[in-house]
């Protein structure tokens, strides 16, 4: 396990997403649910593969031989040693010492895109255009997530607005800790094949902590030492070996 250089000890909570590649059918429901939850606008007319806004990208990794390809959903990997934090001249990215979430604060961003270069997983998007929604869709925007403007970078924050709501509920009930059932990201909730599971890896007895120790679990580009809190699982040793070594490239 990696210890972040940004904190002296591991955070009290280590929110972690586990993706079971054996179960993922590549349907893209996670990405759609993510866009609705997080006020990601429909693609601008001029947007391409590279310039659109996507927080949860489903990549198709072709098999080495002629076997079936593997679908790999890739949100921000929520690294414990996030390379993006150090390069930001604005301090618009912070490793949250309480949750391990890599927090991107778009209002602080000046749009230099160093973080996009530094991220080996290509999980960020730059807002090339002012976000626009068709008239009827405006009423469905999520008030718990602010709208980003043109010229700033954004990415997955593990649906932190749901953690905020869970905390408010706990404090109204006079409780110090949230009920874990109240904090589930939109992608996890939406996955029809239950390929995604989410939880606090600091909870030693929890399902996510168990999966993290399982030999079938691995990390993308494990050799870089970024320490992602998005874990992948596959029963196929070849898939594990290849993805943990090379990761996936964009587009």
């Amino acid at each position: 396990m990696h210890t972040s250089k940004h904190t002296t000890s591991l955070p009290a909570h280590r929110y972690t997403l586990v993706v079971d590649l054996d179960r993922c059918t590549g349907c893209g429901a996670c990405g759609t649910a993510c866009a609705v939850e997080n006020n990601i606008p429909p693609a601008a007319e001029k947007a391409t593969e590279r310039t659109g806004t996507v927080w949860m990208r489903v990549h198709e990794a072709a098999a080495a031989g002629d076997g079936p390809s593997t679908f790999v959903p890739i949100p921000c990997q929520q690294c414990d040693n996030p390379p993006c934090v150090d390069v930001c001249p604005q301090r618009a990215i912070e490793y949250d010492p309480r949750t391990g979430i890599v927090a991107q604060i778009p209002v602080r961003c000046l749009g230099c895109r160093y973080c996009m270069v530094a991220c080996p997983y290509h999980t960020r998007s730059f807002n090339w255009w002012t976000p626009e929604w068709p008239e009827g869709m405006k009423a469905t925007l999520n008030p718990d997530v602010s709208i980003r403007t043109r010229g700033v970078v954004e990415k997955c924050n593990f649906c932190v607005q749901r953690l905020q709501a869970a905390r408010a509920k706990a404090s109204a009930a006079g409780q110090a800790e949230i009920d874990p059932a109240d904090y589930v990201p939109a992608c996890v909730e939406a996955c029809p094949s239950r390929a995604l599971s989410f939880g606090d890896a600091a909870d030693e007895k929890g399902e996510v902590a168990r999966l993290a120790k399982d030999p079938e679990s691995f990390r993308l580009l494990a050799g870089l030492g970024t320490g992602p809190k998005v874990l992948y699982r596959s029963s196929d040793p070849a898939v594990r070996e290849r993805l943990s070594r090379t990761g996936v490239t964009r587009g």
Partner: protein, 192 residues
Amino acid sequence: MKLPAPVSFAVGLVPALAAGWLLFPRLLYRTEAQPLPFNHKAHTEGGMGCADCHAVAENGRFAGLPATEACAGCHAEKGDNAGINALVASYVEPGREVPWLVHARQPDNVYFPHAPHVTGDKLACARCHGPHGESTATKAYVVNRLSGYSRDIWGPSIARVGRKEWQGMKMSDCIQCHRAGGRESACLDCHK
């Protein structure tokens, strides 16, 4: 005529400062009227508590300002009070919500939960809102023309001198109180 340097400097500086401190605030801010008169005292003296209109729900959400429905129980009919008549005619009868202007409203990117601050009598409403709960009339809503933010975020004094602790709620004001209580906050505690 040639003035000595300090004098010509002052001749330039004084009007510049005057423009900056006196004229600019007038240009920068615009005042808007509330859609209706409202008298807090008339209601709380009648026995209503703050939570009858502004409550934290069980799920932790703050109800904010009361819906028209909450007023309709007592103000369904017109009488001889102009304020009540306007309420009934423009909002209760057509079933519309009152578009109150919220002085404390933070920018869209800020997440402020009332629950951790007020549950269990931790902080009094007046600590952050001043005497608004005892007001007999609405107060002027002043908005920054450039940012669109309420002036209450910065506070009434541009230089922030002599301000009372509830006047102004900038990021530094939130953090100052949190630090005083030994609480270090992460960006995502307060931003969304």
